[in-house]
């Protein structure tokens, strides 16, 4: 029994880890290809990197080698750099267009490519009115500047 597990278990462990890594990678791929929000697209890229890391660690255990874990540490480093650059770019693009939508930038496409036209969607259901707790006012109510009411809708 101990001999059997020593031989069989590593293969089983490797297969299971490779399947999980593949699933994570594919989910990230679908997320990157399908979603239109730039932040979610970059979350999808991070998910793909996670899938690769899981399979690398599995291979490292299987071959009894530290290379898998070392490479995963470098993947972590590259992912941190990539996140910093990507978020800076997202902030820049968001400031330029006011949207996180990647489809805004289709005007950068080649001249021969047709434009993507948004389909009509039914309006989302209206938000249910939330009842915020009210405190009994005491003293003089301060005047709220108009510029503050723009982003403090609930106050």
């Amino acid at each position: 029994m101990p001999d059997e597990t020593a031989v069989i278990a590593p293969v089983a462990l490797l297969q299971n880890y490779l399947l999980v890594g593949g699933l994570l990678f594919v989910l990230g791929l679908v997320g990157f290809l399908c979603r239109r929000n730039m932040i979610i697209m970059f979350l999808a890229v991070e998910l793909m990197l996670q899938g690769v890391s899981v399979s690398l660690v599995g291979w490292g255990r299987y071959h009894n080698d530290w290379g898998g874990q070392a490479l995963t540490i470098f993947i972590l480093t590259v992912a941190a750099c990539e996140a910093a650059i990507a978020l800076a770019l997202i902030m820049t693009l968001y400031r330029a267009s006011g949207k996180l939508d990647i489809a805004v930038w289709q005007q950068e496409r080649e001249a021969s490519q047709p434009a993507y036209v948004d389909q009509e969607l039914p309006e989302p259901p209206p938000e249910v009115d939330k009842h915020w707790p009210q405190l009994t006012p005491s003293g003089i109510e301060p005047e709220i500047p108009a510029s503050e009411t723009i982003y403090r809708s609930h106050v």
């Binding site: 399947l19 750099c81 820049t92």
Partner: protein, 273 residues
């Protein structure tokens, strides 16, 4: 190879054919269900069928998982199954929720599951580093950007996705191909020559950090230096991108066409000249 089998007498062939191809049938069924589930739960114009999609996804995960060998010990098995299911389901939720804040939080859960998988595999340092670096730093930065961007409610672009009916089946087929090749080729490959003593000496050694550090700073020393430089370059690059953006006149309403700031000029101190 399948077509002649079908062309033959199905009545007499089918029981043995089904029995001998049970694995292929299971994988094909799992891929079909996975594609349908992924298409159902991705953001579409209508919200109907999301629960059905979730149930189908879990069933297809079970079909895939049934292909794979057990680890031998029921405790190992159950721990792995719990961690793997948590990771994959959280990842699927992170890719399919409409609100980006929920996506980020589900992604954090997927990262925690991955860290658990790393611990399970004997990679303690990587598990801790994943929690600290990913969930602690990168994800919080994502949430900061989300707060700055302040998405109000459900924007149009969060409620639709690009052509999910192409990419979901493609992804399911990719997983099916991976599963088949894994369950046949890796299982057929000779196992790595190792015993429990070998493992204890090397990758499962008690002094995990000492071994990892020894390898990292001897074999991979140059790579470590390059990675440090890369971090510095990334830092400077991110600052340069945002600083260059600040010089745009009227940046809130600027059209993308006017977005041609010369980075070299501003980097050379053009602002202070």
């Amino acid at each position: 190879m399948i077509a002649p089998l079908f062309a033959a007498d199905v009545a007499s062939q089918s029981p043995s054919w089904v029995a001998s191809h049970a694995q292929q049938i299971q994988i094909a069924l799992g891929a079909l269900l996975a594609a349908l589930a992924l298409w159902l739960i991705l953001p579409r114009a209508s919200q109907r069928g999301r629960i059905l999609g979730g149930v189908l996804g879990i069933v297809s995960l079970g079909l895939f998982a049934a292909q794979f060998p057990r680890l031998g010990d029921w405790l190992d098995d159950s721990m792995f199954v719990v961690l793997a299911t948590l990771t994959v389901l959280a990842a699927a939720a992170a890719m399919t929720f409409r609100n980006p804040v929920y996506c980020a939080i589900w992604f954090a859960l997927a990262l925690l599951g991955t860290a658990g998988l790393f611990f399970f595999q004997g990679a303690q340092f990587l598990g801790v580093a994943t929690v600290v670096v990913y969930a602690g730093a990168i994800l919080v930065t994502f949430l900061f950007v989300l707060m700055l961007a302040n998405p109000k409610g459900e924007a149009y672009y969060d409620r639709v996705s690009w052509e999910a009916w192409i990419s979901a089946p493609a992804a399911a087929v990719m997983v099916a191909v991976l599963t088949v090749s894994l369950s046949q080729n890796v299982a057929a490959a000779p196992p790595a020559p190792q015993s429990q003593a070998d493992l204890d000496r090397n990758i499962l050694a008690p002094q995990h950090m000492a071994h990892l550090g020894k390898h990292l700073f001897s074999e991979y020393l140059i790579a470590v230096e390059v990675a440090g430089t890369l971090l510095l370059v990334g830092l400077v690059g991110a600052v340069a991108i945002v600083a260059a953006d600040k010089e745009l006149p009227g940046r809130a309403g600027a059209t993308p066409a006017s977005f041609t700031t010369d980075l070299g000029e501003s980097g050379a101190g053009g602002r202070h000249a």
